[in-house]
């Protein structure tokens, strides 16, 4: 890295940082330099060492070797408190908020009294910050009533509230709609413009170029290059990141749609955590097609999944699968009837972290032969099936008896997908199936969804990632305020879909 002797020292300099875990070198003599005033993207696959690096910067992990300099002075980030004292704030993928407390209480939680100021002042400041985000979040609202996207905003606002110097965002846009992402980066830009710096970790190339001043690519725990984004092009970065050429994105073979498999008619439910209930929502999924649901988070996606699974009571409406009425069945019967699900929140709803791989597979298989006979578990068969799934979905797992918490997110998701597909569902409801996954795992998930389609089954894909929806879906339904506000096709322009997502309904005659 060329050093200009006249330039002031960078805000943060990391030199030869090394951190290993049993069997893995997560950071291997890693160097990184972040300047005041810049937005710095950090790009890398899962397992490239991004999270470890960020945890070290956040004072949550102690490095084995290496040096960290802050404005030219050597510092020790021995604790999260030490990091916070310098003005380093992190926003994690998994939000660290207290659900029962209000937004205001969460934001001021842990602040010393003098920094918090009088409650009224704190609330005024918070309202001002919230205003910049163009959100309807109320400071007195309990966090548990917020959607995932809104919770993330609260996390960021919490950092901004603390006079941040270095804001670290871990995959900040995973749960956001495009316009929310733009807002977020506008705010990030404003933070940087005041002489601070922003690091954001991402998989998404478009974000690197749209919002990053510079980009650092990590691979296998090392910095394989830092560039000004204006001087790089996406393919080169991807090649650096994965160390090989990526296979071209899957192309869907055209298919004539088959018979209707899943039909939802005029569904209505009470509001869930996203505070939006379903409002006479109707849709159908045919054999051999992927129906994508696009929409801003918190518009009824979670409620739709829960309603289909029988986890949320229908106030009105009817759900049929293969002309079997599911409306009054319980979840077990619905799953047995041929509906499969990949839950959107993997940690909360898909896996049990304390359980091993076999137990997590059994969870998805349910009490069905040959794994469970007459109430008795056959661990030998369950183990065999686990091994099969591990092989077929290339799960990088040591042994079926190891806890699933040892797997990276991408490989956990492979197991989750593998176990649901093992039941050969007629229709798969896949919520955010690639969210937060490494490139390889995401590609595998997409490929298997297309495999469902090719096998004449149906997929209902709910995703915040509009690119993914456009790439995979045969038809796209845009959900807004609990109803399908309009339909689109993969050839519809992003702008048009974006308008629908913000609630601007199409002109008459455009719905198929």
């Amino acid at each position: 890295m060329p050093a200009d002797p006249a330039a002031p020292p960078p805000l943060l300099r990391v030199e030869a940082l090394t951190k290993s875990f049993p069997g893995v070198i997560a950071n291997d003599r890693l160097n990184l330099e972040v300047r005041a005033g810049e937005v710095h993207a950090v790009l890398g696959e899962n397992g490239a060492g991004k999270s470890t690096l960020m945890n070290i910067l956040g004072g949550r992990l102690a490095p084995d070797a290496g040096e960290i300099q802050w404005e030219g002075r050597k510092v020790s980030l021995a604790s999260p408190r030490a990091a916070a004292a310098l003005g380093i704030a992190m926003v994690h993928q998994h939000y660290l908020l207290v659900p029962r407390l209000s937004v205001l209480e969460n934001v001021t939680l842990g602040l010393p009294r003098f920094a918090r100021g009088r409650p009224a002042d704190a609330e005024r400041r918070l309202r001002a910050l919230l205003g910049q985000f163009e959100t309807k979040i109320d400071p007195r609202q309990a966090v548990e009533t917020l959607s995932v996207g809104e919770r993330q905003k609260v996390e960021i606002i919490k950092a901004l509230f603390r006079q941040v110097r270095l804001l670290i965002l871990d995959e900040p846009t995973a749960a956001l709609a495009p316009h929310e992402a733009r807002q977020l980066f506008r705010i990030g830009r404003a933070v940087a413009a005041q002489g601070n710096a922003v690091i954001f970790i991402t998989h998404r190339m478009d974000e690197v170029h749209a919002f990053g001043d510079r980009v650092t690519v990590l691979r296998a725990g090392r910095n394989v290059g830092t560039f000004a984004t204006a001087e790089t092009e996406p393919r080169a970065l991807v090649r650096l990141m994965v160390g090989r050429e990526l296979a071209p994105r899957s192309v869907r073979a055209p298919r004539a749609p088959g018979a209707v498999l899943l039909e939802a008619v005029e569904l209505a439910t009470a509001a869930g955590e996203g505070a939006v209930g379903l409002d006479r929502l109707s849709l159908e999924v045919r054999a051999g097609e992927i129906v994508g649901i696009a929409g801003v988070d918190g518009n009824g996606q979670d409620e739709l999944v829960e309603a289909l699974l029988g986890l949320r009571r229908l106030r009105a409406g009817r759900i049929t699968l293969n002309s079997q009425d599911l409306s009054s069945l319980d979840t077990a019967a619905i799953l047995a009837g041929g509906l499969g699900v990949v839950p959107g929140d993997r940690h909360a709803a898909a896996i049990i972290e304390d359980f091993d791989l076999r137990q997590n597979v059994l969870l998805g298989l349910g009490p069905t032969p040959p794994w469970v006979r007459g109430g008795w578990l056959d661990w030998r068969r369950i183990g065999q099936t686990t091994t099969e799934i591990v092989q077929r979905f290339q799960v990088r797992a040591p042994r079926p008896e190891d806890p699933i918490a040892r797997l990276s997110g991408g490989h956990q998701q492979r197991l989750v997908l593998g176990r649901v597909l093992h039941r050969e569902p007629r229709v798969l409801v896949a919520a955010q199936p690639t969210r937060g996954l490494d490139v390889g795992s995401a590609a595998l998930v997409r490929e298997r969804l297309l495999g469902m389609r090719a096998a004449g089954r149906g997929v209902l894909l709910l995703s915040m990632d509009l690119d993914e929806v456009l790439e995979l879906s045969d038809r796209i339904a845009v959900i807004f305020a609990g109803r399908i506000i309009g339909w689109a096709t993969p050839t519809t322009s992003r702008t048009e879909i974006g308008l629908l997502m913000t609630g601007i309904a199409p002109r008459r005659g455009e719905t198929p």
């Binding site: 999270s51 986890l311 979840t331 077990a332 969870l363 009490p367 578990l377 997110g409």
Partner: protein
């Protein structure tokens, strides 16, 4: 293995702290501990006495462990114990003519059924009305204990007796003694069989798996089609049956009748035992034995080393504090590592030797 080592270390630390306390109030801890050990395990008779105490403690602790494993935080073992004892006594008294081969298991089964019903009631209150199980089971304890007391005052009191107890149960319902010189009955086999059954329930049955899944992550369980209500009902029934079995053993193997104070707070002592035993069957049985030995040894310690009984309770308290606290200290020390594991720290996605482009 690691948790076992930690538990032993914590117990040693608790004994050390107890020694310090005793020394501070002028008791010689060496003598005290010697008498405690000898009292609990020093002679065959003392061992037999310890095993007698062990039976209900172990079964009650298993009942607690089954509930806690499924995140059903039951305090209700005490009440279910009393219901079990009542069921067993009534069944035994109702069929005096039956041969032992039938009456012994039948009376035992009646106790289990009565305990299960009382347990199910708490489960049903939770499932149907969302009654918090801690409050629900605690209230049901009062009802059960006072109801049994009421019965002992009148309806089922032994005719002509001043003491609140039922008549003796028929000899055909009594569990035979292991040796003539001690009160210990063959009921001593029951906790081990029950421990094995709990192990099988948790490891080999769908009902046990379901309960643990629901306890560990209710949302994931629901997404997998597991009904929380059914899981809670099964767990409360199994837990209640174990507590009822403890009551049955005390009636059939020890007192040979139902009488007031028969429970000696087993249902409450069982909670720390289950916790110290990490809510797994083997750990729970070992801990129950330890607590039983301390309980029996305490009397001896009190007599010979002039250690007041509260000191024994204090020791037990210290053990719980150190074992449960030790785990927390450990997890705090591990906090950083755990935090790291929560983040995806997977092996490098690409072999480090991959050629640079």
């Amino acid at each position: 293995m690691r948790t076992l080592g930690l538990t032993l270390l914590s117990l040693a630390a608790a004994l050390a702290a107890g020694a310090g306390l005793m020394a501070a109030v002028g008791i010689d801890p060496v003598t005290a501990y010697r008498e405690l050990g000898l009292g609990g395990l020093g002679t065959p008779r003392n061992v037999a006495e310890t095993l007698l105490r062990f039976c209900p403690l172990a079964l009650c602790a298993l009942a607690v462990a089954v509930g806690f494993r499924a995140s059903f935080f039951t305090i209700g073992v005490e009440g279910q114990f009393y219901f079990g004892a009542l069921g067993t006594a009534l069944a035994a008294l109702a069929f005096p003519g039956l041969p032992p081969l039938i009456l012994i298991p039948a009376a035992m089964a009646a106790g289990m059924a009565a305990g299960a019903v009382w347990g199910l009631l708490a489960g049903w209150l939770k499932v149907r009305f969302g009654v918090n199980e801690v409050i629900g089971t605690l209230m049901l304890n009062y009802i059960a204990v006072l109801f049994v007391q009421y019965l002992l005052r009148g309806p089922i009191r032994a005719p002509g007796s001043e003491v609140q107890f039922t008549p003796l149960i028929p000899a055909a319902a009594m569990l035979p003694r292991v040796v003539p010189w001690a009160r210990l009955s063959w009921g001593i086999a029951v906790p081990f069989l029950a421990g094995y059954a709990v192990q099988v329930f948790q490891r080999r049955t769908w009902a046990g798996f379901r309960a643990q899944a629901f306890g560990a992550n209710p949302l994931a369980a629901r997404y997998a089609g597991i009904s929380g209500s059914r899981s809670v009902l099964v767990v409360t029934a199994v837990s209640g049956a174990l507590a009822g079995l403890a009551g049955a053993l005390v009636v059939q193997g020890e007192f040979h009748r139902l009488q007031a104070g028969i429970g000696a707070d087993y249902g409450y002592t069982a909670i720390p035992i289950a916790l110290v035993g990490q809510t797994n069957p083997a750990g729970t049985l070992v801990t129950a034995f330890l607590f039983a030995a301390m309980d029996v040894g305490a009397t001896m310690m009190q007599l010979k080393a002039a250690v007041p009984l509260p000191m024994v309770r204090l020791l037990e308290g210290l053990m719980i504090l150190f074992v449960v606290g030790g785990r927390m200290v450990l997890s705090a020390g591990l906090g950083r590592r755990v935090a790291a594991h929560l983040r995806p720290v997977s092996p490098p996605a690409v072999p480090p030797a991959a050629p640079q482009p």
